[in-house]
């Protein structure tokens, strides 16, 4: 069994109002040194089998991310 992580992020150039709102909130708390904050999804899961890389690609493409607005990245551990 492997542990896998999938990071889903909004494509560059697509506005991220949530990220912006959080960034503003941080600035209001005095953290003026923060910029370019963006919020994505961090999906962790356990997966069995030998074909995990390919399957994770498929899952991400089909379901976990929406390729029109999102990118994804996969990491497999152990």
């Amino acid at each position: 069994m492997a542990k896998a992580k999938v990071f889903v992020t909004l494509k560059e150039g697509i506005l991220d109002p949530q990220g912006q709102t959080v960034e503003n909130a941080l600035k209001n708390l005095g953290y003026n040194n923060v910029s370019n904050l963006r919020i994505g999804k961090y999906i962790t899961l356990d997966i069995e089998g030998d074909n995990t890389k390919k399957e994770l690609e498929e899952m991400s493409h089909k379901l976990l991310a929406n390729p029109i607005i999102e990118d994804y990245q996969i990491e497999i551990e152990g």
Partner: protein, 236 residues
């Protein structure tokens, strides 16, 4: 004519859509998300709600329901399909309509009546509207900020696929009348062939003045008229 209202786990406007078309004297059935072999419908409605809790992205999981294969076939053979709110989101995720839905730019759920400008009244869903007519129909969504890339937007415009835009009471479609950050105030689009419509506002909630507006009736009345003229195709 006969409508079919799809029911996914978590749909919650299914009964409202059922009620709305019954009010107009039409036959209507529910179609369960597992069903793969239905036929005899003149129009399918994908209702609003939170299919599969709207987890991950709204509509993302529902589009893999067994029923959706048949819905795609139905679309390809020219059947009329209207997706409302979550139904619109499902149609986008399923690729039956172009583009994607993002979270409202306010990051809040918004429920209220909005004004819509009818950009194209030559469709099976809007033939009872006049061109440019401003109507009041409520929205109720968290993810209604329509997005499409430039190329897609260009195609939408070229083919007159933008059906409704958010606007002011007088039909001004400037950005400040957009409740959710949607690209170019887009509230509803159809496919190139004109038989599949997706819209964020809920026409089934605007069926009588007692509910605050009766403008939503025109959407269903248009479908009925189109069907009588043989537009769309009964799936036998």
């Amino acid at each position: 004519m006969k409508f079919g209202v799809l029911v996914f786990p978590g749909s919650n406007c299914d009964t409202d859509c059922h009620w709305a078309v019954s009010e107009l004297g039409q036959e209507v059935d529910y179609i369960w998300h597992h069903q793969t072999d239905f036929n005899g419908y003149d129009c399918l409605i994908l209702p609003g709600g939170f299919s599969y809790g709207d987890f991950l992205r709204s509509g993302a999981i529902a589009r893999f329901s067994p029923v959706m294969k048949k819905v795609k076939q139905y679309a390809q053979t020219g059947g009329l399909i209207i997706g409302i709110c979550n139904g619109f989101q499902i149609l986008l995720e399923a690729g039956l309509l172009p583009g994607a839905m993002k979270r409202n730019d306010s990051l809040k759920f918004i429920c209220r009546h909005v004004n819509l400008k009818t950009e194209n009244n030559q469709t099976s869903f809007t033939n009872k509207f006049t061109h440019g007519q401003v109507v009041s129909i409520p929205i109720a969504h968290n993810e209604g900020s329509y997005f499409a890339d430039e190329a897609t937007l260009k195609v939408l415009k070229e083919n007159n696929q933008i059906i409704f835009r958010y606007c002011s009471e007088t039909g001004n479609t400037s950005e400040k009348y957009c409740p959710n950050g949607a690209l170019e105030n887009i509230a509803g689009i159809c496919n190139k062939e004109g038989n599949v419509l997706g819209m964020m506002p809920h026409p089934e909630r605007a069926m009588s003045d007692m509910l605050g507006s009766s403008d939503g009736r025109m959407v269903f009345e248009s479908i009925i008229a189109a069907s009588l003229q043989g537009r769309g195709k009964r799936d036998e």
